[in-house]
Amino acid sequence: MLISPSAFLAQMLQFAVALAAAPLLTGWVNQCRAWLQNKTAPSLLLPYRQLHKLFYKEPVAADNASMLFRTAPYIVFGCMALACGIVPALSTDLPLAPVADAIALVGLFALARVFISLAAMDIGTAFGTLGARREMLIGFLAEPALLMTLFSASLITNSTSLANIVNKMAHSQFQLYPSMAFAGVAFTIVSLAENARVPVDNPATHLELTMVHEALILEYSARHLALLEWAASLKLFAYSCIGLALFFPWGVAEVDAPLAMVYSLPALALKLAIGGVLLALIETVSAKMRIFRVPEFLATAFLLAVIGLLVHGLLEA
């Protein structure tokens, strides 16, 4: 497997952009949400300052915390970094793209989820296990729904490789796929749930009855917390890029045109900015739902994604 210099460059650039821009995306969503809710918006750079502050502080671990507790943040961060390196956001000519296809990407998210849930159970406080249970509850429905969404795209393009999906979707004649409409709705629901957003979770609350993500990381502090927060924004970034790759695959550089990266970066920034506004809008207009309504919400997504697959079989095959 020979790697061309331009492909290597694209891969490195994509890692760098993901790591650097992920907190910015989180900051942007928070800012939009504050505007929409008539609040004074925090600075766009607030997530960076928070990360710096947290890395600087001395971490406090519980007396009985095991190695699993201390390594989990690094594992979760590593998984999310790889996920951002696989999803074709800037270029489809990524050397790492063949390493993990869509199914392996879902497996990667699952791996991170299992580790963060196990780490939450490690201390043995009631909150940790509560968070772990809720996270796995959301995960077991969101994961197959995400997989089915990706399957809809792979059935159209005859490939599970994300780079090829983008290539084929961008180059085929513009066509409306009914199955992708179903998949789109399912994907929106899944990404809300997976990124701990209203209506499934509220990233701004610490109310025990409602929280999921915050309960998971309750025992973490300082650099561990920083890594987990950074990983969470990387996850949001990765999900946004998956969404863009599946539904708006235009303006991404390709194998034969490495210079296209010059315009693919601003194109990505623009698409992400619009996506951030939409996310803030959804969060503002919807209300947080009770935890026991969440399975129904996610089951809807799962069923829609399966219907999407069937629709593909009926109409598009």
Binding site: F77, V99, L111, S117, G124, A126, L141, L310, L314
Partner: protein
């Protein structure tokens, strides 16, 4: 001994394997002589047995790549010698048996102790007869030898299950197991009867050439599904698994779950692809349907269990379901002549067979060490063992991650290949099947995600958190031999996950034999790093690079953070949320962790709940979850049998004169019939 086809040098493999089996039986006999000398049995005999398993695995791996070898053993009844034959299908399953039993045997060397039911020597004999039986099942080349081996396997495992026979619940479990094993055996016997088509010759060579009509072929197939399904644990014949596995000593449960269930898969493959010369489209659909129902049923029950071993037993049911889904797909594609797809489905199935054998044995053995260290099987009384038993905990984590189907471990490879099979499926002749395939794919994805839930529950409640009982703080880690056994199986799970291409090389011979197509060539076209079943453009996955990149990211982050900032860490008591009276009992119990699933999948369970009222002085919460199939099938059948027995009991008066009268009347009737 009569030689079959093949030269002298080629016969070496089969002879070596028969020698290994003979040594196993010999070890068992020696153990019987040294009945109560625990040290000798454990440290003297079991390590030899583990070495023999390794030899078996090595020879079987070699046997995969050479032409079939056969031999005839002049044992048993006169005129009915044992025909044995090793082709690549047998060799593959022998390799799985060898690799897995090497781990369980070396573990047993550290595990066996006095005072656990039957004497160690006797258990050693049963254990080795069990191993020998399983190896002979996959080698048998005539129905007679097959049934003898099959029954040896069933009976020796039955005695292992009731090792602790003074407990009445264990006797019940053993009885249930024996009952279902025999119902299955009856169906298998009938299946062979149909297959031989009145020729009276039960060698597989003869069964292969019989031209059965589709009707009789279907009957033979359905009988095979019932017979082998009962052994594999297909719903609704699964009820013995969650009873027998907790009852048996842990190495025996590991063998039963890891290998014995797979011999049923082997036999089904043998009958469906090899012995039957026609295949009919609905056979595959039947297996697919049974597989999906079993997998879904198994995984939902896994998540709500409160007993470690019951949880793992249900997880085995789930995995067998997935294996049946793969088999069903392969059979369906084979019927329609889509042999490339059939080979892909079969590859996924066979890799899952090996993966499940390794990780499930590992998990069962781990429960054994926990049981020895704490005396508890109940999840609600365990917790925090990662601090007292770090070796067991970290090795179990490998098994639990593999069982959750997470990359880059073994469970993910088979799951990935299976999902690829669904995606590659196009243009099946009937639209019904074209619609069915995506729905089954969705169900498989759901099952895989739920199994992760179950494994987080299993690992988290047993090994993480705070110890829920006082005595857990004195728990001791596994002994050195036990660690070797666990580490071997964990290493196998990792290796299988990281080297799927090498695994496909082995499986390739089997798929060539069964469906006339293999993946090895296409896979090798893309180099040894990338696993791509057809082309890189279509789908690819590279576990080694995957692992390396994640590891590099982790190392890079850890070092950078340390250099740019610092690596200090302070310990403090966990935050109590302002409520200082928290105890370890306030953590989630296993019931609590499974509660959301219980609520979502309420229809699956037959549930009885006792809730405390606000005025109870001693509040008590109890929830009993049972299998609906007990109420739907087993209890009505039991009532029917009971009634029939009562009716039959009327003629039994217990007086000798009455019985003499019966004999006399029978004689008269017979004379009348003959006299005509």
């Amino acid at each position: 001994m009569t030689r079959g086809a093949g030269g002298m040098d080629r016969m070496l493999d089969l002879d070596t394997i028969l020698t290994v089996i003979a040594i196993w039986v010999g070890i068992g006999v020696v153990a019987l002589v040294a009945l109560r000398r625990t040290r000798f049995v454990a440290h003297g005999l079991f390590p030899i047995s583990a070495l023999m398993s390794l030899a078996l695995a090595a020879v079987a791996l070699h046997g995969l790549f050479v032409p079939p070898q056969s031999t005839v053993l002049r044992l048993g009844l006169p005129g009915l010698p044992f025909h044995l034959r090793m082709d690549s299908l047998s060799a593959y399953f022998l390799a799985v048996i060898g690799a897995t039993s090497a781990g369980t045997s070396i573990f047993s060397a550290g595990y066996v102790r006095k005072g656990e039911g039957t004497p160690p020597g006797l258990q050693c004999l049963q254990y080795h007869l069990f191993l020998a039986g399983m190896a002979l099942v996959v080698l048998a080349d005539d129905a007679y030898a097959f049934m003898v081996a099959w029954e040896t396997m069933a009976l020796s495992s039955y005695f292992l299950v009731i090792a602790n026979h003074r407990v009445s619940a264990i006797r019940h479990a053993g009885y249930l197991y024996l009952l279902l094993a025999h119902i299955g055996a009856l169906a298998i016997l009938l299946c062979f009867g149909v297959l031989q088509a009145n020729t009276g010759d039960f060698t597989f060579a003869n069964l292969r050439v019989q031209q059965l009509s589709p009707f009789w072929a279907s009957i033979a197939f359905v009988l095979a599904v019932i017979g082998f399904g009962a052994k594999a644990g297909i719903v609704p014949l699964h009820v013995w698994l969650p009873e027998a596995h907790p009852a048996a000593p842990s190495p025996a449960s590991a063998l039963m779950s890891g290998i014995m269930l797979k011999t049923a898969v082997y036999a089904l493959l043998r009958v469906a692809f090899d012995l039957l010369h026609v295949q009919i489209w609905w056979w595959g659909v039947l297996l697919l349907g049974l597989g999906v129902v079993t997998a879904m049923y198994g995984v939902v029950f896994t998540t709500v269990q409160t007993d470690m071993k019951r949880l793992l037993a249900f997880s085995s049911i789930e995995n067998i379901g997935l294996i049946f889904v793969g088999t069903g797909l392969a059979l369906m594609f084979h019927t329609y002549g889509m042999n490339a797809l059939a080979a892909l489905a079969l590859t996924a199935t066979l890799i899952h067979v090996a993966a499940h054998a390794l990780f499930k044995s590992l998990l069962f053995l781990a429960t054994g060490t926990v049981l020895h260290a704490t005396g508890e099987r109940n999840l609600g009384k365990l917790g925090g063992l990662i601090r007292t038993m770090p070796w067991v905990a970290w090795l179990t984590l490998v098994g639990a991650l593999a069982a959750s189907g997470l990359p880059p471990l073994s469970g993910f490879v088979s799951e990935w290949l299976l999902l690829q099979t669904f995606l590659f499926t196009t243009n099946l002749p009937t639209s019904f099947l074209n619609m069915l395939v995506p729905v089954v794919a969705a169900a498989v994805a759901l099952v895989a995600a739920l199994s992760a839930y179950a494994m987080v529950k299993f690992f988290g409640i047993v090994f993480l958190g705070r110890p829920r009982e006082e005595k857990l703080q004195r728990a001791r880690d596994a002994s050195r031999l036990e660690r070797i056994g666990l580490a071997w199986l964990a290493a196998g799970s990792v290796a299988l996950g990281l080297a799927p291409i090498q695994a496909i090389d082995c499986v390739d011979r089997v798929t060539h034999l069964l469906v006339g197509f293999g993946l090895a060539q296409t896979v090798h076209a893309n180099g040894w790093l990338l696993l791509a079943p057809t082309s890189i453009q279509r789908a690819s996955y590279s576990p080694i690079i995957f692992l390396l990149v994640v590891a590099a990211c982790i190392a890079f982050t850890a070092i950078t953070v340390r250099i740019v900032y610092h690596g200090r860490l302070r310990r403090a008591p966990p935050w109590d949320c302002g409520f200082p009276h928290q105890t370890a009992r306030m953590q989630d119990t296993s019931e609590g962790f499974g509660q959301p699933i219980r609520q979502i999948f309420e229809g699956f369970f037959w549930m009885r709940r006792e809730l405390p009222s606000p005025f109870d002085a001693r509040p008590r919460y109890r929830v009993v979850i049972e299998d609906r199939f007990w109420h739907w099938i087993y209890q009505p059948v039991q009532a029917l049998v009971d009634r029939a027995a009562r009716l039959a009991g009327r003629v039994q008066q217990g007086r000798i004169s009455i019985y003499l009268l019966y004999s006399f009347l029978t004689l008269v009737v017979m004379l009348l019939l003959v006299g005509r």
